[in-house]
């Protein structure tokens, strides 16, 4: 790392106040503080220092995401070779997935950090770690075969409109990663939904897809049953896949052996990451719990009044498919765009889970209801907080009046 530091040391005189290129100083400073620990200290006054800062919070979330990410890579390869009926070891699977995943991650970070550095330069502050988590979340919620430039455009849009417009990290109204996905979903629907995009089927010359191959997600299959009524023989083959031993059986959806966005499939590993976040105190267990309860409540209500197979799906199974778990653990718990008040967190989480399942089932054209529900609740979070604070004030002033 010494030679990198030498580059910074050598160029510093150029960009400092008297230097020729002093217009580039914020840019220099931004990249340097990103690469190395800043060497300047606080000059005056007493400051409370805590062991946890933005960098540590962000890196904790990254750690929590790693299991689901690695599993996602392996799953890409497994589904790819499976589609051609080829034998493959777990290493083949993993390497194939890693080769697909690395460009996605690289492009996301390059695009997002590009915008961040530009604004750090313009606004004269250091590049902060705000994009660290978003940059890894975005590739995890994309389908495997999405063209890279679409990822880049979505990321730039998300950082620009989702974050920098409001003043940068910590000021954003919406979750940037979900903003990127929502943008991609509405802008390039052909590459973001359907049954062709979730499994990479670019085989070698002459390779044939196996008979009965289907690239649909669990929710894509379920959407076909809407409007068919309950216990219709026409939906029998679809629903058989959700029974034990089927492609989308409870066990498969729990372990994540199904097609879907790269990181969202394995409920088990996502929950593991969630436990880690709760244990480290970074993710809010209140949001996760109420999100789960909200989703379960809606799924149970649907189950009780089922008029089609999608509604009639076992509530637990309903929560295991699609992006519910991923949204619960990594998206809804975003400390910036979520509710800030403790009571508000319960309301926010509950409604996000509740509406997520509702959108998914009522409008199968928007299979990722969870994404829209969380974005919607992001917008509502300040309102929830406002009323929680108001009611606290009212209750206390009443208590004071009675005392």
């Amino acid at each position: 790392m010494k030679f990198v530091q030498n580059i910074f040391d050598k160029t510093r005189p150029l960009v400092e106040k008297e230097g020729k290129r002093n217009i580039l100083y914020p840019l220099h400073n931004a990249i340097e503080t990103m690469a190395f620990v800043p060497d300047h200290t606080t000059h005056s006054g007493a400051h409370v220092r805590d062991a946890i800062d933005l960098k540590r919070t962000m890196i904790t979330v990254i750690f929590a995401m790693v299991p689901a990410l690695l599993f996602g890579m392996w799953n890409i390869g497994r589904l790819h070779y499976g589609a051609f009926g080829e034998e493959s070891t777990w290493l083949d699977n993993f390497l194939f997935g890693a080769l697909k995943m690395l460009p996605l991650i690289t492009v996301t970070y390059a695009a997002g950090l590009g915008v961040e550095i530009f604004f750090a330069w313009k606004r004269n502050h250091a590049v902060n770690e705000g994009f660290l988590v978003s940059g890894l979340l975005i590739p995890m919620i994309m389908p495997v075969d999405i063209p890279l430039w679409m990822v880049a455009v979505s990321t730039i849009f998300a950082v620009l409109i989702g974050k920098e417009v409001f003043g940068g990290t910590g000021m954003n109204l919406l979750n940037p990663a979900l903003t990127a996905r929502a943008f991609a979903f509405f802008a390039y629907p052909t590459w973001m939904s359907g049954d062709q995009i979730w499994i990479n089927t670019n085989g070698e010359e002459g390779a044939q897809l196996v008979d009965g191959y289907s690239g649909a997600t669990a929710m894509g299959e379920l959407a076909t049953t809407v409007g068919q009524g309950l216990n219709n023989p026409a939906t029998e083959t679809v629903m058989a896949q959700f029974g034990s031993g089927g492609t989308y059986s409870m066990m498969n959806t729990f372990l994540g052996l199904i097609p879907g966005s790269i990181g969202e499939t394995s409920a088990l590993l996502i929950l593991l990451g969630g436990l880690f976040l709760v244990f480290k105190g970074v993710g809010s267990w209140k949001i996760m719990l109420s999100f789960l309860v909200g989703g379960l409540a809606m799924a149970t209500i649907f189950n009780a009044f089922a008029v089609n197979e999608f509604m009639g799906l076992n509530p637990i199974h309903q929560l295991l498919i699609g992006g519910f778990m991923f949204g619960m653990v990594f998206m809804a718990t975003d400390p910036v765009s979520g509710s800030q008040t403790e009571t508000g967190k319960y309301i926010y989480g509950f409604l996000a889970g509740f509406f997520g399942i509702m959108i998914r089932v009522f409008n199968p054209a928007y299979p990722e209801g969870i994404m829209l529900a969380i974005l919607f609740m992001n917008v509502m979070a300040p309102l929830i907080d406002h009323y929680v604070v108001e009611s606290n004030i009212k209750r206390r002033s009443k208590r004071l009046a009675n005392a």
Binding site: W149, V153, V165
Partner: protein
């Protein structure tokens, strides 16, 4: 005495020129006064309707301002809104009939929004704020100026939405067909651009750029 002074002022004096140029930037009806946003969202998917809409508004606002200004001393204050509405409505019907006669396709695309020029806040706003208190020439300049400011934003938004959303300008394909993924290329149109929310975002971006460049618009504190 005072009328004499007014008459001496030349038609294109500095003051009158400002009436024409101010609404383009410093006092833009859409980006600064935030009027007429609904139509900016609704008819900017393609460039052609946006241009026709701008011209229609320019006619209605220019002519309306002059008429109101001419009869401003005859209008009883208490019923002035109704009088203004009658004037706008007549002019809008003229425009509507004209479009149906000579540009039927565009008139179909604009559909209800031609009629809705009547309720466009810019028009009533300029009548109330300017035409009722100024002479016909000044009112005319003000009307044309505001219509240009409105049209400029409309056309800019429509330009980006049609280019990025449909890959065309004025209905002519400008992005080569061979670029598209379906034809073996790499490009795809941005479907989001065809939705009204994106128009709002594009207007927002225009406001952002404008405010970054024009320091007069930045509020204190």
């Amino acid at each position: 005495m005072s009328t004499e002074v007014k008459q001496k002022e030349s038609l294109f004096s500095k003051k009158n020129q400002k009436l024409l140029s101010d609404p383009f930037n410093d006092d833009n009806p859409i980006t600064v006064q935030v009027l007429g946003v609904c139509s900016a969202l609704a008819i900017t998917v393609k460039l052609e309707p946006a241009i026709v809409m701008s011209l229609s508004v320019m006619f209605v606002l220019g002519a309306g301002n002059v008429i109101i200004s001419l009869i401003r001393n005859l209008i009883p204050n208490r019923i002035r809104i109704i009088v203004q509405l009658v004037v706008v409505a007549s002019l809008v019907i003229l425009v509507d009939q004209f479009l149906r006669a000579f540009a039927y396709d565009v008139s179909k695309q604009l559909s209800v929004f031609v009629g809705l020029i009547i309720t466009n806040c810019i028009i009533m706003g300029r009548f109330e704020a300017f035409a009722l208190a100024n002479g016909p020439w000044k009112a005319f300049m003000d009307g044309i100026g505001n219509a240009i400011g409105y049209g400029a934003v409309l056309i800019a938004v429509a330009f980006f939405r049609e280019l990025l959303g449909s890959g065309a300008l004025l209905g002519i394909q400008v992005i080569p067909d061979s670029w598209y993924i379906a034809n073996g290329g790499f490009y795809a149109n941005n479907g989001f651009m065809l939705f009204p929310p994106m128009a709002l975002i594009v207007v927002g971006l225009i406001i952002w750029v404008q405010r970054a460049r024009n320091t007069k618009l930045i509020e204190e504190n």
